[in-house]
Amino acid sequence: MTGAALRVGGLSKTFGATRALADVSFTARAGTIHALLGGNGSGKSTLIKILAGVHSADAGTVETAGRALDARAISPHLARELGLRFVHQQSSTFGDLSVLENLFLGHGFDTAPGFRVPWRRLRARAETLLRRFDIAADPGARLDDLRPATQTMVAIARALQDQEGAHEGVLVLDEPTASLPAAEAGVLLDALRRYAAAGQTIIYVTHRLDEVLEVADEVTVLRDGRHVETRPKAGLTRAALSELIMGRSVAELSTGTRRQQSAPTVLRLRELHVGPLRGLDLEVCEGEVVGIAGLLGSGRSTALRTVFGLVPPDRGTIEIDGRPLAPTGVREAMRADVAFVPEDRAREGCFADLTVLENLSMPSTGRWFRKGRLRHRAEAGQAAEEMRAHQVKAASVHAPMGSLSGGNQQKVIVARWLTRSPRVLLLDEPSQGIDVGARFEIWELVRKATAAGTAVLVVSSDLEELAGACDRVVVLRGGKVQAELCGDDLNETHLEHLIQEAP
C-alpha cells in the first residue's frame, strides 16, 4: 500500500499580517500513520482547519484518492465528501449519553416513518460498528463509564462509520492522547496501529515525541508556517525530532540541582482523606520539586485542589511552614502564599477575551489600586517587564489572551503566580498541549522560583516530564503514596511500572 491517500500542494494562508502557512506541500501514503508535527504556531492547526473547511486557504490544492480540489473551495461538507474525517482532543463526545447515541449523533439518526427512531435497527448497526473498530463496549453503556481510551475509539468509530469500504478516506487525529494517562494512550495507540494495518490512513497530530517514535510510519514537520521535512520515521531520535520542530537543539528537561537534604519542610500533608485520597502523607521541602504520578482518578488533582482550598478535606491536616492551613477557600490558600496553575487552561486558567496585562495582574489587581484608582501605566510597565522576563511572546501587553499560543498562555498563567513569590506552587498538568520549547521555558521559570525557596508540587501524565523535571516523584495508588522515587531510580520505565502495578 504505497499509493498517496492525501496530497497537499502549495497550501498558503495569511491571517491579517500573519503568514500562517506558506506554500506547504506533503504527501501521506495510504495505510500509514503520518505524524504531523510542529511547535505552537507552526501552522499545523491552521492546516487541519483548512482540511476541515473551517478556514479557507488563500492558495493550494488538496488531493484525496485521486480527486484534486482547489483548497480555497473546501467547506466542511466538501471535506466529508473527500473522505476526510476529524477527531479532536477535546473529545466531541457526550459523556452522559450512551455509546449508541454518541455514534449516531455524529451521523444523524435514521428514522422510521413518523420520525420514530428505530432503536432496534440502530443497536444492531452499532454492534457491527463496534466490532469493526474492535471496541469492547455495550452500545447501551454510558460513555463516561468507559475507559478514556475506549471513549476516544468511539469518537473515531463515529467519524469513520459511513465510509463505504472498511478503511477508506483519511482520519485526522488532533492530539488524541493529550489528556490520556500513559496506559490509556498505549491502548489507543495499539488500536491505531491495527487500523493502519487494515489499510486506514491516519494523520496524527501530537506533541508527544515518544508516541511519534512508537507509532508513526512517516513524519511531516512544520515550522513557522513552512514545510520543513517529510521523511520516514526510521533513524529518527527524540533529539533529532525536537531539533526539526524547534529549528534549534532543545536541552532535555533537567533538574540541575537535586534536593538539598537540609532544606526545611514547607508543605506537609498528613493523613489527608478527601475524594479518592485515603490518608495521603506528603512533604515538600524548600526549593524542591515533587511530582505526583498515578492513574486518572487516583486523586492526583484532588490533592492539589485540596491544598488550594477548592475541595474541603474530610480528614487530615495541611501545614505550610509549620502553620496549619485550614483551607476554607482559595483566598485563605492565597494568603498562605499558595499558588495554583490548573489543568484546564482554557476554562480555568485563561480570561481569553481580556488582555495579557489583565491576565497577568488578575490575582494581584489590588496592588495597583492606589489613592483611589488603578494605576494603569505602572501596571502596564510592570506587565511588559514580566512578559520579557518570562519570555511571553505576544504583540503587546494589550493583546487579547485568546490570541496567544497555548505555550505563551501557560507562561502568562505561571507568571501571574510567580510574581507573588509563592511559598508553594501547585502545577496541574503544566505542559499539556504545549510544545517542547515552551515546556522547557516554563520549567526554567519554575526552577528560578525554586531557587528562591518555593516548594513545587506537580501532577503530570507525562512521565518523561516527571522523570526529567522533578527532584522526587511519589506514586499514588489506592489513595496513598505507594512508592517514592528519586535520584537514579527516577526514570520513565520505573514510573510506568509502579503506576501500573496492581494495588
Binding site: 491571517f15 503568514r19 504556531g41 477535546q90 513557522d224 488550594f308 481580556l354 493583546a399
Partner: protein, 360 residues
C-alpha cells in the same frame, strides 16, 4: 503564536516583517471605524434631520434638543444599571420595574407631604431592598439571574398596581422637584447633568477600581475568576445591588421629569435599557460593554426617534427601527469581533464547527 514579536525573536525572516507593515494602516483604520462608526452615524442622522425640510425647522432648535436630551436621562441611568451585571455576563430584567416601583413610592411620599430628603431616601431604599433580594437569591440561592429578575420584576408590577390601582400619582408634587426635572443649567437640562455624573461614576468604578476588573474577569470566565481568588458571589451580588440602586435613581429622575409617577412606565424601561447596554459593545470600545457606548446608543436611538416623530412618521415605525438597530448593531459588533479574532488567529478559542462533525 502572535507573530509580530515572534518574527523578531525567532528570526522569522524579512517576508513576514514586510507584510506586517503593509497591513498595519488598514488595520488601524478598521479599528477606528469599528469604534466610532455609531458615533459617525449619529452625527450623520443629526445633520440629516437638521437639513431635511420636514424636520429642519424643529429638530435643531435649542428647545427640541433640550427635551430630547432631558427625556433620556432616566433611561440612560437605568441602562448604566443594566450594564454593570451585563459585564459579568448576568442579565438583570428587573431594572425597569425597580425604576417603576421607586417612582411610585417616591411620588406617593412627595404627594403625601413628606420632605424631599425622606422621599428620596424612600426611593433609594426601594432600590436597595430589591437589589439585595436579587443578589441573595442569585448568589446564595443559586437561582439563574434571568429567572430571578424576571420573577422579581413580575412581583414588582403587582406591587405597583396594588399601590396605585393603576392611577397615576400627579397631585401635590412640590414645585422644586418639577423645576429640577424640567429646568436647565447653562442650557443643559439638570437631569442630564445627573446622568453625566452617574456615567462618570460608573466609568470610574468599571475602569479604575479592582472591582470593575473583577466584573470583566467574571464575564470572561467565572471558573478562572474563582481560581485567582476573586469572591465571585460577592462581586455578582454587589453588581445586582448597584444595578437596582441606579435603576431607582432613574426612577426618581423620572418623577421629577414627569411631575409624578405613571404606573405603566416602569417595566417598559427594561428592554430599551438592556438594548442600549448590549449596543454599547458596538462602539467606543468595540467588543466590550462600556459606559461611553451605552450613552452613544441611548442618544442614537433618541435622535432617530425624535427626528422621525417630528417628521410625522407614525409611532409604530420607531418600534421597527429600534428593533432593527439592536439586532444590526449587536450583530455587526459580533461580526467585527469575529473578524478581529480571525485576524489574530484564535488559539484558545474552541472551534465548535470542528468539534462536531456536520450532521448529514
Amino acid at each position: 503564536m502572535v507573530r509580530t514579536t515572534a518574527a523578531a525573536t525567532d528570526g522569522g525572516g524579512p517576508v513576514r516583517r514586510a507584510d506586517r507593515r503593509t497591513v498595519r494602516l488598514p488595520d488601524a483604520a478598521g479599528r477606528f471605524l469599528e469604534a466610532y462608526a455609531l458615533i459617525g452615524l449619529l452625527v450623520v442622522i443629526a445633520i440629516f434631520f437638521s437639513v431635511w425640510p420636514r424636520t429642519s425647522g424643529s429638530f435643531a432648535s435649542v428647545a427640541n434638543l433640550q427635551i430630547l436630551i432631558g427625556n433620556q436621562a432616566a433611561i440612560g441611568i437605568i441602562a448604566l444599571g443594566a450594564l454593570i451585571p451585563l459585564i459579568a455576563n448576568e442579565w438583570d430584567l428587573s431594572i425597569g420595574s425597580v425604576a417603576g416601583v421607586t417612582a411610585v413610592f417616591t411620588a406617593a411620599a412627595l404627594s403625601g407631604g413628606h420632605g424631599l430628603l425622606l422621599s428620596g431616601l424612600i426611593g433609594i431604599g426601594c432600590g436597595l431592598v430589591i437589589g439585595l433580594a436579587n443578589a441573595l437569591i442569585i448568589t446564595r440561592g443559586r437561582v439563574n439571574a434571568v429567572i430571578t429578575t424576571l420573577g422579581v420584576s413580575t412581583i414588582l408590577e403587582g406591587v405597583v398596581n396594588q399601590r396605585t390601582n393603576g392611577v397615576a400619582i400627579t397631585t401635590n408634587i412640590p414645585d422644586s422637584v418639577v423645576n429640577f426635572g424640567l429646568g436647565t443649567t447653562a442650557g443643559i437640562p439638570r437631569v442630564a447633568l445627573v446622568l453625566i455624573a452617574v456615567a462618570l461614576l460608573v466609568y470610574y468604578v468599571l475602569d479604575h477600581t479592582p472591582w470593575g476588573r473583577y466584573l470583566f474577569a467574571l464575564g470572561s470566565s467565572p471558573s478562572a475568576a474563582r481560581l485567582v481568588g476573586i469572591r465571585t458571589g460577592l462581586v455578582v451580588g454587589v453588581a445586582f445591588v448597584s444595578a437596582s440602586l441606579l435603576a431607582s435613581v432613574g426612577g426618581i429622575l423620572q418623577v421629577a421629569r414627569q411631575a409624578g409617577a405613571d404606573p405603566r412606565v416602569g417595566a417598559a424601561f427594561t428592554l430599551p435599557a438592556l438594548a442600549a447596554a448590549f449596543l454599547s459593545a458596538a462602539s467606543v470600545k468595540p467588543g466590550k460593554y462600556n459606559v461611553g457606548g451605552t450613552l452613544v446608543a441611548i442618544l442614537f436611538l433618541a435622535v432617530l426617534n425624535n427626528g422621525l416623530s417630528l417628521a410625522g412618521v407614525p409611532a409604530y415605525v420607531s418600534s421597527y427601527l429600534n428593533g432593527v438597530a439592536l439586532v444590526v448593531g449587536v450583530g455587526l459588533s459580533a461580526w467585527l469581533g469575529r473578524r478581529r479574532s480571525e485576524r489574530r488567529r484564535p488559539v484558545a478559542e474552541p472551534q465548535p464547527a470542528m468539534n462536531h462533525p456536520p450532521l448529514t
